[in-house]
Subunit: 404 residues, 2 copies
C-alpha cells in the first residue's frame, strides 16, 4: 500500500488537544482520589506483556490483541486490559502481601479491530481490583465504589445493572441439559442485548413449553429486590438459587450504602461468560447508548498466576466518560508580561513571583515599542484579549524604565 | 524458545508498586503544574504511530524502534519520543494555530534494546516544546523552565550544561574541511563524552599542529560567560562565531532569570547531531552519573510535517528522577471501620462522611466479635497497627448497638 502522509496517524487512535487533556486529567485525578479514599492503592504495569501469560489470561479474544515479536522471537502483546497484568503482579511482586488487596489503576489499553469498524484501538480505563475476598460485601463495595467513581468523574445521571453468571448457567443447565451449543447461542444473544434474537432462537428450539416460558421470562427480570423473589420461583437449580441468594445479599449491602436509586438487578446481565464467575455489572449514563463502566467477579483468573484467589473489580471507560461530563469552569486567565530589553531582569523576576502565586504567565520581549502599545490597547478593550493565538486575561508592561 | 512463566514480564519493562506510583504521580503532577504556570498547555498523542511518518522523523535510530504490522500490513511503531508526534499534531490538528505554540506532555516512550543490555524498554518523559520562536529568549526560556521543572520534581542539586551544534560544526569544517568521516568520528566521541578517544583520534590525524591544539582546546571550554570569549578567539568560522554569539545571548537571558548557579556553558555538548540544529543541553543531578533531562533546538523537524518552523524543547527523564528525589512525607494513616452485621448502615454512612472529609477509610464486617476485640487491642497498643497486611492509624468499631 502507499505510504501514509505526514499528518496521518494510525486508524483508531487519537490526539487529545489541551482542552480535552485538561478534562481527561481532571476525571483521572478525581476518580483516583476517590478510589484512594476507599483504601485502594494505585499500581502501574507495563504496556507490553508476554502473550503466553497475560495475553492468554486476559478476557480479550485472540484476534483483538495487538501482537509483536521481541528480539528473541517471543510474542509480546500490548495490554488489552489491566486486570490480567494486576493478577500477574499479585502472583509475583505482591505474593507475600496478605489478602484482601485493594488496588487501583489508570492506564491505556489496546484492542486490534478491523480497521473499518471505527472503534478505538487505544483508550483509557480507570479501575480497581479487590483480591482475596469472596463475600457479597466485597461485590457490593465494588458496585458502591463504581457509583462513587462515576460521581467523582462528574457523570450526573446513570444506572448500574447487575446480575450473576451463576443464575443463567444454572437455569440453562436445568432447562437445556447437555445442549451446550444452544446454551452458548442464547448467552451470546444476551451478551449482545439482542432480545429479539434470543426469542427467535428460543422459539426454534425443541423443548417443553413451560421451560420455554421460563427462559423467555428472564427477559422481564429487571428491577429491585422483588426480582430476587421472582427468580427464586423461576428456577429450582441449586446453582441458580445460590446465585440469587448472593445477589440478594449484595442488594442488602447496597441498601446500607444508600445507593439503591443508582442500581437495578438485571438477571440477563451476563458479561463475558468465559471470564466472570459470579456477579457482573454494567453502568449506563442516561445520555449514552453504551456502558460507561463494567465489572464483576472473576474467581478463576488468579490461579493462572500461581495464587488462586477470589477477586472482584471494575473499570470505568474513561475515554467515553469524557464525552458525557460537563466542561470544567474556565480557570483564571493567563497573564502576558511584555518587556523592553532593558527591563528584562525586572520582568522575569515579576513572572517568577506571579508563577509562585499559582498564576499562568507568558513572557515576551518586545524590542518594538509599537507592539507593546498595540497590545495595551487590546488589553484595555476588554477583560480578555488574544495575542499570537493565545487568550490572556491580563497584561503587564515593563518599559525601558521599569513597570509601566 | 520455552514459554515464559506466569510471573514473568518482558525484559526491560517495570511494574510500579503503590509506593513508587505515589512518588511518580507526585513528580508528574508537580512538573506539569510548573509547566502550566509558564503557559504550556498539555497534549496527549497515541502510543502507536506510523513508521513512515513519526518513526522516520524521530531522533531514535531505526533498530531501536519497536515495530509491528497493523491489519493492512502498514508498519506501526511504538513512539520513541514525544517530540516527533507533537510535530505531527502542530502540522495537522493545530495547523491554524498561530506561533509561538507552548505545549507540554507526560508520557511513556519505548526503545528496543538488545535484551541483555539491561536498559529500559519503556520509560516516562515529561517535557515541553516551544514551536515557532527562533530567538535566544526562547532557548533561554526552555533552559530556565527545565531548571524550574527539576526543582518542582524535587531534584535538589543539579547542573545544566549547554552548548551549540553550530560551534562544533563550524570549527570542524574550518579545521578538517571535507573530511566528513573524521569529523563524524570526533563528534561521536564528544557525544559519548569520551575525551580519551577524542584525543586519541586527534593525535592520529594528519593535520596542522596549531589546529590540532585548537580542537583539543575545546575540551577545556566549560564554565561561565568567559567561555564565550575564549571560544571567539578559537575559531574564525562564521558559523562557529554566530553560534557563540547566540550562546552569549542565551547566557544574558539566563542571568536575567537569575539561574546562573545552575548552568554552565560546555562547548563539547553536542546532543544528537543529526537532529539538533542549535543550542543543546543536558542536566545532571549531583548524585547520578546519567542525565536527568536533555533538550535543544531542532529547526528542521517541523518541515517534515508540512509546517516548517523553528522549535526548541526539553524532556525530563522522569523515570530516572524517581531514583534521586526524596520520599514524600507519609500522609495521615488509614482508618479501619469494623462493624457488626446489625450496624452496617451506620458504619457505611460513617465511612462515607469520613471519605468526604478526605480521609482514607476501609470497612470490614466482623461477624465474629472476637476479631473486633483483637483489633481493638492492636489499635490501642500504638498509634499505627497492621491488619491483613494494611497499616492503619485509627480504628472505629460499630457493635450491634451502634458505635462503640
Amino acid at each position: 500500500m502507499s505510504k501514509p502522509k505526514g499528518f496521518e496517524k494510525p486508524i483508531g487512535v487519537k490526539d487529545y488537544l489541551p482542552h480535552a487533556v485538561s478534562k481527561l486529567r481532571h476525571i483521572e485525578r478525581s476518580v483516583l482520589e476517590c478510589m484512594h479514599r476507599w483504601g485502594y492503592d494505585q499500581i502501574m504495569t507495563p504496556t507490553m506483556e508476554y502473550y503466553d501469560t497475560v495475553g492468554v489470561a486476559s478476557a480479550t479474544s485472540d484476534q483483538k490483541l495487538f501482537k509483536l515479536l521481541n528480539q528473541r522471537g517471543t510474542t509480546i502483546v500490548l495490554r488489552s486490559d489491566m486486570t490480567a497484568p494486576i493478577a500477574r503482579v499479585v502472583g509475583s511482586l505482591l505474593k507475600e502481601q496478605p489478602f484482601p488487596l485493594r488496588l487501583s489503576y489508570h492506564g491505556n489499553v489496546f484492542r486490534a479491530f478491523e480497521e473499518d469498524a471505527g472503534r478505538e484501538a487505544e483508550f483509557f480505563q480507570t479501575g480497581v481490583e479487590l483480591v482475596g475476598d469472596p463475600s457479597p460485601e466485597a461485590d457490593a463495595e465494588i458496585i458502591a465504589l463504581a457509583i462513587a467513581s462515576l460521581q467523582a468523574a462528574g457523570v450526573r445521571s446513570f444506572k448500574i445493572a447487575f446480575g450473576h453468571v451463576g443464575f443463567l448457567n444454572g437455569l440453562f443447565q436445568e432447562t437445556l441439559p447437555g445442549r451446550e451449543a444452544e446454551q452458548e447461542a442464547l448467552k451470546a444473544c444476551l451478551l449482545q442485548r439482542d432480545h429479539v434474537g434470543y426469542r427467535h432462537i428460543l422459539r426454534s428450539l425443541d423443548m417443553d413449553e413451560s421451560q420455554r416460558a421460563e427462559l423467555e421470562g428472564i427477559l422481564r427480570l429487571r428491577g429491585g429486590q422483588e426480582v430476587c423473589e421472582q427468580a427464586m420461583q423461576l428456577s429450582g437449580s441449586d446453582g441458580a438459587r445460590a446465585a440469587i441468594r448472593h445477589l440478594c445479599e449484595i442488594w442488602d449491602v447496597l441498601e446500607a450504602y444508600g445507593v439503591q436509586e443508582h442500581v437495578l438487578i438485571d438477571l440477563t446481565m451476563i458479561g463475558d461468560f468465559s471470564y466472570y464467575t459470579g456477579m457482573t455489572f454494567e453502568g449506563y449514563a442516561s445520555n449514552l447508548g453504551f456502558p460507561v463502566c463494567s465489572g464483576g467477579r472473576y474467581d478463576n483468573l488468579l490461579a493462572q498466576f500461581g495464587r488462586p484467589a477470589a477477586a472482584t473489580g471494575f473499570a470505568l471507560k474513561t475515554t467515553r466518560i469524557l464525552e458525557v461530563v460537563e466542561e470544567e469552569p474556565a480557570a483564571a486567565g493567563k497573564t502576558l508580561i511584555v518587556y523592553a530589553p532593558a527591563a528584562r531582569g525586572q520582568a522575569l523576576a515579576s513572572a517568577e513571583r506571579l508563577r509562585g502565586e499559582g498564576r499562568v504567565v507568558v513572557t515576551e520581549m518586545a524590542a518594538d515599542p509599537e507592539l507593546a502599545a498595540e497590545l495595551r490597547k487590546a488589553a484595555a478593550a476588554g477583560s480578555v484579549f488574544s495575542h499570537r493565538g493565545t487568550e490572556y486575561g491580563e497584561m503587564i508592561v515593563f518599559g525601558e524604565g521599569g513597570r509601566v
